[in-house]
């Protein structure tokens, strides 16, 4: 068992930490919360020049040929600064799905453009049922003259308002007893006729969208993966994306601690630092415990994905634990920071919001505990 980073991972961490510390101060995070796009093309370009878009891609698609652990390291640093923008949606929701399911033509057409920073992607999965289970999908895709025609509504689609391509999960087969059958994935252009995108207004200020598909025509070449075999792709994406989100969340948790702890050493009441009171210390000890257990459980899952080992159990354990832990950690950080941490101009609430968004996407603690229960054979 080895709990340390490799030298390369350490270099990636340090350089990402330095870069993002400079490029993404909290002022930028706040500006982007009211920016129309939610990101700047300038920063996006810089990130693509660093090779971050292609971190997972094979070299022939313009990638860095890194593994999932490298992505986790990067996402941790992004979570640390609360980086706004469509990186997670493009790379994890979008590109990872294309890597899982795409044919050679699709991969060589789309991935190099993503690696170059020229293309944004996202994945439209959840509907009004707000569920990541197959039962939650009723958006229809029907054959008409060789094309598929999509009709329905998707909610909570990240960055759909700026994505060039939206991968849509649709039901091509009749829903029978087994809802896992009959799901297919389609690559839809945001600007295709019939596609309309409206922004949600969310707690974290992240750009999630309602996407309405009204008679949207998709040629067969834009079917992603095998017809009716979408669920197995989605299941793998769910597990991996969950772990990726956890990597981001532990960065968020670390920052919450880095805001709270130094403050507790400085701030005095009753003639002594607030951090010298035992109740406060115990909250901090609990925070560190939540963070460390989250860190290890996330890197265990990420490592297993990197090594091509089975990871379903570990991924769900990870998402369940980190979803709850990050939320609890930031709540404790608020408690120990007192009044000042509750202020809008203080940065802690940015992490409070990010923690909630991270908890909810790809299944919260309850959802993943049920998956763990299934894995346990209960």
């Amino acid at each position: 068992m080895d709990f340390g980073f490799s030298e390369e991972q350490q270099i990636l961490r340090d350089s990402a930490h330095g870069f993002l510390g400079k490029e993404c101060p909290s002022k930028f995070v706040r500006e982007m919360a009211s920016d129309e796009k939610g990101y700047t093309p300038e920063l996006w370009k810089k990130m693509s020049e660093l090779g971050w878009m292609g971190i997972l891609f094979p070299e022939k698609y313009g990638g860095y040929e890194g593994n999932f652990l490298d992505l986790a390291v990067l996402l941790y640093e992004m979570g640390y600064v609360c980086l706004p923008g469509p990186y997670f949606s493009t790379i994890v929701h979008g590109a990872m799905t294309i890597l899982e399911a795409g044919n050679e033509e699709q991969k060589s057409e789309i991935l190099p453009r993503v690696a170059n920073g020229e293309e944004l992607l996202t994945l439209a999965w959840t509907e009004t049922g707000a569920s990541y289970t197959p039962q939650g999908i009723s958006l229809k895709a029907e054959l008409d003259n060789g094309d598929f025609v999509l009709n329905g509504m998707k909610l909570f689609v990240p960055d759909a308002h700026v994505a060039d391509k939206i991968i849509c999960v649709a039901r091509t087969g009749e829903p029978s007893g087994d809802y896992e059958q009959g799901l297919s994935l389609f690559i839809v252009g945001r600007k295709d006729p019939g596609v309309s995108v409206d922004l949600h207004n969310t707690i974290a200020g992240d750009r999630q969208c309602a996407v309405n598909l009204d008679q949207v025509r998709v040629p067969r070449r834009n079917l992603l993966g095998k017809i009716e075999m979408g669920w197995s792709v989605l299941n793998a994406v769910l597990q991996k994306a969950s772990v990726a989100k956890c990597a981001q969340m532990i960065g968020c948790g670390q920052r919450a601690m880095d805001l709270a702890v130094p403050y507790l050493k400085e701030r005095e009441q009753f003639g002594r630092p607030v951090g010298s009171f035992q109740a406060v210390k115990h909250h901090c000890a609990n925070m560190l415990t939540l963070l460390e257990t989250s860190r290890f459980i996330t890197f265990e899952a990420a490592w297993r994905i990197s090594e091509g080992l089975s990871f379903e159990m570990e991924a769900s354990m990870c998402k369940a634990w980190v979803s709850d832990s990050c939320r609890q950690l930031v709540a404790l950080a608020h408690q120990v920071m007192g009044g000042i941490g509750f202020m809008e101009e203080h940065d802690l609430h940015l992490y409070f919001r990010q923690a909630k968004a991270g908890e909810l996407v790809f299944g919260d603690g309850r959802f993943h505990r049920e998956l763990v229960a299934q894995q346990m054979g209960l």
Partner: protein, 388 residues
């Protein structure tokens, strides 16, 4: 980064597992429960002597002292494997006194005690706590007067679990009343058969006993002083970083049996394991056990790289013992009314195990540093927060 054991580690633990399966008996398990998990009973000694022949009791020790020159990782793996099979958890000789002797004991002391410890032939009991000195260990008062070629010891210890089945007392005594309290403490090895020692049982709510130990003019030869006089507190504190851990599999078997019970028990035509609330609880416990496991092996990883786990061991002990209690509570939730039935009641599921561990687990967050003390350590040494 790597989250699996090396092949040679897995191979070794497979052999240890085979050995345990072949040699563990219901009598050993029963004795372990009756002693509260401490080593020293007759059945356990018989078993451990056989296990120790392979060097498996103290694998990280040098070969000359009965070890395998192996790693802390292997040691931690073996300890956890033993915990899973409900063998004793607490080996003061092998995991507390022995390592301290190895680090700071005289050559004479090493030669006298290490091999017998490694062979499972002798056991020690910790002699730290007193009525007025629990978490505040430096407040201990038992007097060891320096008489030249021996110490004369008078005073009292309490909550000294283990003493009634151990051969030696690993005694922390006061050798100086001048200056700060923590600078006047020495550690010495006392033969528990020495004249003047009286051991009285204190029965715990779990049914197993701990002890009061009275010292009345007990003679302890100078050669039994561990390291330097008045340095005992430093040895002790230093050692805690290395010995504080709690094997996470100690309650794992119980958990598995609770899961099994939930799958097989039907209420209103449905297995308990189909109840969503029970599923959530059981999944949560499985997750917490995995988190404990990672915290535990992180310690071994650090120790093998000569990093000092100053807050990490506190975190592991605190977390793993609190998980243990949550597992017991989960067991009670799942068993409902049946949970209160003691072993021997014909209706008691799991041979009354849930009832027993529910009572016994109360002490886990108290002994070896309360959860409150551990949280103080995490905050102070882990985060640098100032002492009060």
């Amino acid at each position: 980064m790597e989250f699996q054991f090396k092949k040679e580690e897995s191979d070794l633990i497979a052999r240890v597992r085979e050995f345990i399966k072949e040699n563990v008996t219901p009598e050993i398990v029963e004795e372990t429960h009756q002693l509260g998990g401490v080593f020293g009973g007759i059945e356990a000694r018989r078993f451990i002597k056989k296990l120790a022949v392979n060097g498996w009791l103290t694998p990280a020790w040098p070969k000359e002292y009965g070890g395998l020159d192996s790693s802390e990782m292997i040691t931690y793996m073996i300890r956890d494997e033993m915990a899973y099979f409900e063998l004793p958890l607490y080996f003061v000789g092998a995991y507390n006194a022995g390592p301290m002797i190895l680090r700071d004991g005289s050559e004479e002391m090493k030669n006298e005690f290490l091999l017998p410890i490694a062979r499972g032939e002798i056991e020690f009991a910790l002699g730290y706590t007193e009525p007025q000195a629990g978490s505040d260990l430096a407040a201990l008062n038992i007097r060891a007067e320096d008489k030249g070629d021996h110490f004369l010891v008078n005073g009292q210890k309490t909550f000294n679990t283990h003493t009634h089945v151990a051969d030696y007392h690993w005694l922390a005594a006061r050798t100086s009343f001048d200056g700060p309290k923590h600078k006047g403490i020495s550690i010495m090895i006392v033969d528990l058969k020495s004249p003047g020692i009286t051991i009285r049982p204190l029965i715990t709510m779990a049914g197993w006993r701990t002890n009061e130990v009275y010292y009345d003019d007990v003679i302890v030869p100078k050669k039994n002083l561990m390291g330097e006089k008045n340095k005992g507190f430093y040895y002790l504190m230093g050692a805690l970083d290395f010995e504080r851990m709690f094997p996470p599999s100690a309650y794992k078997r119980l958990f598995e049996e609770i899961v099994d019970y939930a799958k097989k028990t039907f209420v209103n035509g449905q297995a308990l394991s189909k109840d969503p609330l029970i599923r959530q609880r059981l999944a949560q416990m499985a997750i917490e056990l995995e988190a404990s496991r990672l915290l535990y092996y992180q310690l071994a990883y650090m120790l093998d790289r000569e990093m000092i786990p100053n807050y990490q061991s506190s975190m592991e002990k605190m977390f793993a013992t609190e998980v243990a209690q949550r597992i017991c509570n989960t067991g009670m939730e799942v068993l409902g009314l049946y949970g209160q039935l003691k072993k021997g009641d014909q209706w008691a599921p799991l041979a009354g195990k849930v009832e027993f561990f529910y009572r016994s687990s109360i002490v886990e967050t108290i002994y070896a540093g309360t959860s409150e003390i551990q949280r103080n350590i995490i905050a102070e040494r882990g985060l640098g927060l100032p002492r009060g």
